[in-house]
């Protein structure tokens, strides 16, 4: 049985992926689904309570991926999937944008992040660092 946090994230993920159908110009649901499922499994294994989910947890998840051998491309697609989900969640007021502080790793990633925030505008300005790759 999944933890309460994993359950709540699964519901958030499902709603996000449903919202993507018909407007997949930025991120395709079939590409985002396995990445977000992987993050859901990480949350489940972490046994964190729902109120403990924070930006630092997202950072640690990506760090764990890197420790396990993920290269820049694999990390970048996870960062963008999380940025898209949480930007959508904040825009629809389903959850705060915990991924706003995640810096894309490449110039292309930074450009895609700008598109994400154009699609789901944040309440306040979000700084997307430009990395020179």
């Amino acid at each position: 049985m999944a933890t309460p946090l994993a359950d709540r994230f699964a519901a958030l993920r499902a709603a996000f992926l449903t919202s993507l159908e018909g407007c997949a110009e930025i991120i395709r649901p079939e590409a985002a689904r396995p990445l977000l499922e992987e993050f859901g499994a990480f949350l489940d294994a972490s046994e964190l309570a729902p109120e403990q989910l924070s930006a630092e947890v997202l950072e640690f998840y990506l760090y764990a991926c890197a420790r396990d051998g993920a290269g820049t491309a694999a990390l970048e697609e996870r960062i963008l999937a999380l940025k898209a989900l949480f930007a959508w969640a904040a825009h629809t007021k389903a959850a705060p944008d915990l991924a706003a502080g995640l810096a894309p790793l490449t110039r292309r990633g930074a450009a895609l992040a700008e598109l994400i925030y154009h699609r789901w505008p944040p309440a306040g300005p979000v700084f997307v660092p430009l990395n020179l790759d």
């Binding site: 630092e56 950072e59 640690f60 990506l62 760090y63 991926c65 890197a66 420790r67 051998g69 993920a70 290269g71 820049t72 491309a73 694999a74 990390l75 970048e76 995640l102 810096a103 790793l105 990395n131």
Partner: protein, 519 residues
Amino acid sequence: MTARTVVLGPLNRVEGDLEFRMVVEDGVIRDLHTEAVMFRGWEIILKDKDPWLPITVTPRACGICGISHIMCAVKAVDSASGNGLQGTDLPPQALLVRNIIAATESYMSGMRHHWLLFAPDLCNPRYADSPYYPEILARLAPLHGSSYRASVAWSKKAVEVTAIFAGQQPHPAAIVPGGVTTSPGLQDITKSLGIWRDVTEHFTENIVLRGSVERYLEIDSWEAFQKWMGEGEHEDGDLGLFVKFALHHGLDKIGRGLDRFLSWPCYEYPSGTYWNPGGLYHGAWKYDGTYEPPGSNLKAFQGRVTEDITHSYFEGTGAAHPWKGTTVPVQNVEPGVKHSWAKAPRFDGKPAEVGALARMLTRGDKLIRDMERKLGPSVFLRQFARIHELIISTPVIADWLRQVDPRGPFYVPTPRKVADGEYWGWHEAHRGALCHWVVYKDNKVVNYQIIAPTTWNVGPQDGADQYGAIASACMDCPADDLENPVEVFHALRSFDPCLVCTVHVVDRDRTISRFRLSP
């Protein structure tokens, strides 16, 4: 046939100028003088200055090994500021981040040395009939070869990790007495790990090895290496291609040199041990394969170094330890008895080779020690060791990145006043042993002497007419074609000579400019 004097130069592809004055007879080099043709003046600039100034000034000696100079300058101050000898009492995370900064810079330098500075000579028209020539050109031709271009791109990626931890590259200022000024966050570490995975996979494994680093690390002898070459696509990687080419064209039989190697301890661990413990190695090919580690008395070990100026453009003659050394340029710089702006460093009064091969031998690397014993030192082995070091350090750097803890601490406050006395800071630059020797008095630099790696290798003969490493190696080479002495180029460039921190600027015929350095 009469002997002919030939001057070759400028010879090195990286920085600074180097010339050879060779006496050639019947295609054999009878004598060879190395001539560093520019004056080095760092010691003069630093005299009577603030003890912390060398930390800022000496890295400017070079845009390639700047971090190595910072490491040496900072370690000397650490030693004089209560942070332990060579800074070994610093917080473990500070040492770890210093190691990452220095090792990634060295990695970049190693990639550029082989693919950009050494390998172009393999494209020399002399080899046009070689069965490997088409493939060599396709991969290594300057500006066009696939591996040449890949090395530019991937060495830049590697050094991005340096910049993440050091704030910028080149010339970072993040390494300071007391530790480092950066405190990396989790995202910095994540990004660095991602980059390092890319470098490992796309360059080291796909281009260099055509196989896994993990499998390569199992190789512990020359025979095991040859077996590895026969597996899968290994012989098609850049390492495999180099080995096939080098053995086919006899690069394993030229440029043997001294067979006496020196390296300084480098990459400190909190336990007081080092990734490379350094030391002196007498090669098994020419001597007996004995290794002498620095031991616990590091001060005594460095105390065996002298610099001889008999044939250097400096006032005086004979040898002195760097703490007692002087740097007073002579006025007459016409080549004669004195013919180089480089001094001649000696260890126990004898010359030694420094560089990647020396590091691998003093570190006790099984494969390289076995190859040295069976094949002897050569252009081939020197270059093989450099590529080998790149490969084996890939997982080491990844492991260090995994050990970084953002909670630190990365720094301990360090007083701006140093204790009077004699100190030194050593490190292994990519090109070999680098050390700064300094004497402080009343919180000022009284004497500052740098012995750079290329000084060890390219320095002239000493008062006892003992030749340095490069001269010895090049005198092993045939010189049939004086218009295109490619074997001499191979031997010289296998050392990756870089003159910029060995010497500095002068023009023989006129004053370029005058600068007032202090009131």
